[in-house]
């Protein structure tokens, strides 16, 4: 606010002073020049009339000469002051218009409106720093789940793009450098409704600074960072950044899950999918037969080590093996030529990873390799979002897009953190367990991924249940799964995880007792979520589900019923 007043006043000083001076000169002249009244007697204009005349003269021109007709001398003076005041007005107005169009001024105004909007934010929100590919995908995903987001980006163009995007929620966006704490504060870092900060800029240093600022200024919120090197990752972890997302490591871990336990990988894909996403088919990366990894950067390196852990014979193709520290036996070359691929043994290989930093090269590798060996299992690394169409056309078995890997993971971390606990527990289970769960899920979902949601038994999310529990009633998990319209019907959903005072139970049984403060992770159809809400929140629905009796709702009816039972 201060800034804007300051700017306006600073800029308006000279125009106003010239305006005042021009007016006073014109007024003074009119007072000093002798005139005459209607009868021809000498008469002098006083200040009152002079000010009145000058005021309308310079703005409208043409009220006539008042109170008496002017003498020649007065007319000469009026002609002069007319031009003077008009020019001064044009100068003053031009200055105001220039100020309004001024870039600095507009920025100050925008920042003011932004800060005011954030201060008035009454709902919990996440602060997303960096609105590039990853940020765009994340904001889209979060707003689709009705979460509030505030975005900060250093590039004005990206901020403008955000305004054009068709998002479900309004996303206030600030054009500013997130590395400067001032901008983070303006964006609501210290706001009590700020639930978390996500640092997604391209620059590791900036992400690091955001994490530090967030941890120092608002220690109890969740901080999630993107990191592209192990060095920065360790640094971020050292001061307690809650989650650090490295897309390449993350993907390599998925791949090794897919190799060991395809069912679990499929389960993961389904549960973490975007709403309304189509169900994917399971993938079976080949375990027997060699793999070829093209490009030994962070991505290729992460995959290579995972494949080694699985005891899979792997050959690396790398254009600059010395600089990247590629392992021994590496074939030198880009992998786009048939010669290098042949040298690496493409004809007998089972899997191929096209993992260079260049999208065109990756596509070229895949197409060349397919010509030499059509049965390859292909993993493609897609670097730019714009190339989605061609990557779809090349039909790779897995397409790895770093931005969407990060966005997806963060979305789950923010939206349903219990899901990550569930998946880490699921890693201890075998393929059989995963396949059984998948077949249970298939039974009630159609062709879209199931909805995953969390329920906490507290007054906000489950008022009726909490009150009943506090009154001493026993409620089993199975009761919540009944349909509140017809209690013999079971809702199309599965409880995945129950968190109760630190104990975690995967796939809890229907007869386990609920306690206040328990957290549940559910997966099922979207409609089941809405119906379950009734049972959780509505006393009468809960009563019906528990006992099968429809309770009298009003006071009068209860009075009658009491008579009946007597």
């Amino acid at each position: 606010m201060d800034n804007i007043f300051f700017l306006i006043f600073r800029r308006m000083r000279w125009p106003l002073i010239t305006l005042v001076s021009a007016y006073s000169i014109a007024v003074l002249g009119l007072v000093l020049i002798p005139g005459q009244d209607a009868a021809g007697e000498p008469w002098r204009m006083d200040f009152f009339h002079a000010f009145y005349f000058v005021s309308f003269m310079s703005t409208t021109i043409g009220f006539g000469e008042i109170p008496y007709e002017f003498t020649e001398g007065q007319r000469l003076w009026v002609t002069f002051s007319l031009y003077m005041t008009v020019v001064v007005w044009v100068y003053a107005i031009g200055n105001i218009l220039a100020l309004v169009q001024d870039h600095t001024f507009q920025h100050a105004v925008n920042e003011l409106f932004f800060a005011r909007r954030i201060r008035r934010q009454r709902e919990p929100f996440y602060l997303v720093c960096g609105y590039g590919q990853t940020g765009t995908a994340l904001v889209q995903a979060l707003t689709d789940r009705d979460q509030n987001v505030v975005a900060v980006d250093i590039d004005a163009q990206r901020v403008n793009m955000l305004k054009l995007q068709n998002l479900r929620q309004y996303v206030p966006a600030l054009h500013g450098d997130a590395a400067r704490p001032v901008h983070l504060l303006e964006a609501g870092l210290k706001h009590r409704k700020c639930k978390g900060v996500v640092a997604l800029t391209n620059v590791n240093e900036v992400n690091l600074k955001i994490a530090i600022a967030a941890k120092l200024l608002h220690p109890d919120i969740k901080v999630i960072c993107r990191a592209d090197s192990h060095d920065v990752e360790d640094n971020m972890a050292s001061f307690g950044t809650d989650h650090i997302v490295d897309p390449y490591d993350k993907f390599a871990r998925h791949l090794s899950t897919a190799l060991q336990n395809p069912g679990l990988h499929l389960l993961h894909e389904w549960l973490t999918g975007m709403r309304h996403q189509k169900l994917e088919d399971p993938i079976y990366p080949p375990l027997d037969g060699g793999w070829i990894v093209c490009g030994f950067g962070r991505f290729g390196g992460a995959i290579y080590h995972r494949l080694l852990d699985e005891n899979i014979e792997t050959v690396v193709i790398e254009a600059e093996p010395e600089e990247t520290g590629a392992p021994e036996g590496t074939v030198k070359g880009r992998g786009t030529e048939a010669v290098t691929l042949e040298e690496a043994g493409i004809r007998t290989a089972a899997g191929l990873v096209a993992g260079t930093r260049n999208d065109a090269n990756n596509l070229s590798i895949i197409m060349t390799a397919r010509q030499l060996n059509s049965d390859l299992f292909v993993i493609a690394r897609q670097n730019h979002l714009d190339n989605t169409e061609i990557f779809n056309a090349v039909n790779a078995d897995i397409v790895m897009h770093p931005s969407s890997v990060i966005a997806n993971r963060i979305r789950v971390l923010l939206g349903t953190p219990l899901l990550y606990e569930f998946m880490s527990l699921a890693l201890y289970e075998d393929d059989q367990w995963a396949c059984e769960l998948i077949s249970r899920i298939i039974a009630f979902v159609q062709d879209e991924v199931p909805e995953v949601w969390e329920v906490e038994i507290n007054e906000e999310q489950a008022l009726a249940v909490t009150e009943a529990l506090e009154a001493g009633n026993a409620i089993e998990l199975g009761d919540l799964l009944r349909d509140h319209r017809e209690r013999d019907q079971i809702l199309p959903c599965i409880p995945l995880l129950k968190l109760s005072k630190g104990t975690r139970v995967t796939l809890p049984a229907d007869d386990c007792r609920l306690k206040v403060g328990d957290k549940l992770l559910m997966c099922g159809r979207l409609s089941a979520r809405d119906r379950m809400e009734w049972t959780l929140q509505n006393d009468n629905a809960l009563c019906y589900v528990l006992t099968g009796q429809v309770r009298a709702q009003g006071w009068v009816w209860r009075l009658f019923r009491r008579d009946e039972t007597r």
């Binding site: 600073r10 800029r11 000083r13 005042v20 001076s21 007024v27 007072v31 200040f47 009152f48």
Partner: protein, 127 residues
């Protein structure tokens, strides 16, 4: 030497001196208070006020406030004069004159505060 400070000091002191010149004389005698002097005082006070716009310091804020007070008082004085002369038609009776002059006296007090503040600021800068 900072030309901005020269102009600033000039207008603030001029506002006070003109104001004082108008105020000087018998309180209820219209002959002792000339309308031109009031006009000059009003114009210079307005300019002095505008000059103080956009100063972010604490001192600047107080200076702006005192100037606004002076301008307000002088406007009131001019308004009383205009009403007496043209609207009610009573002319400058001793009662009207004394109220005009006392209003300008109030403005002068505000101008004195302005000048004192200016002097304090100058002394504190010690340059």
């Amino acid at each position: 030497m900072n030309p901005e400070k020269v102009a600033f000091g000039f207008f603030i002191v001029l506002a006070l001196t003109l104001n004082f010149g108008f105020f000087l004389g018998e309180l209820d005698n219209p002959d002792h208070h000339h309308v031109y002097e009031l006009f000059a005082a009003v114009v210079v006070n307005v300019i002095a006020t505008i000059l103080k716009f956009g100063d972010r310091t604490q001192m600047g804020a107080v200076l702006l406030a005192t100037s606004l007070v002076a301008v307000l008082q002088l406007f009131a004085a001019a308004l009383v004069w205009g009403v007496a002369e043209h609207i009610s038609g009573t002319g400058l009776t001793p009662a009207i004159t004394s109220s005009i002059v006392s209003l300008s006296g109030g403005a002068m007090l505000a101008n004195v505060v302005s000048v004192v503040l200016l002097v304090i600021e100058t002394v504190m800068l010690r340059r």
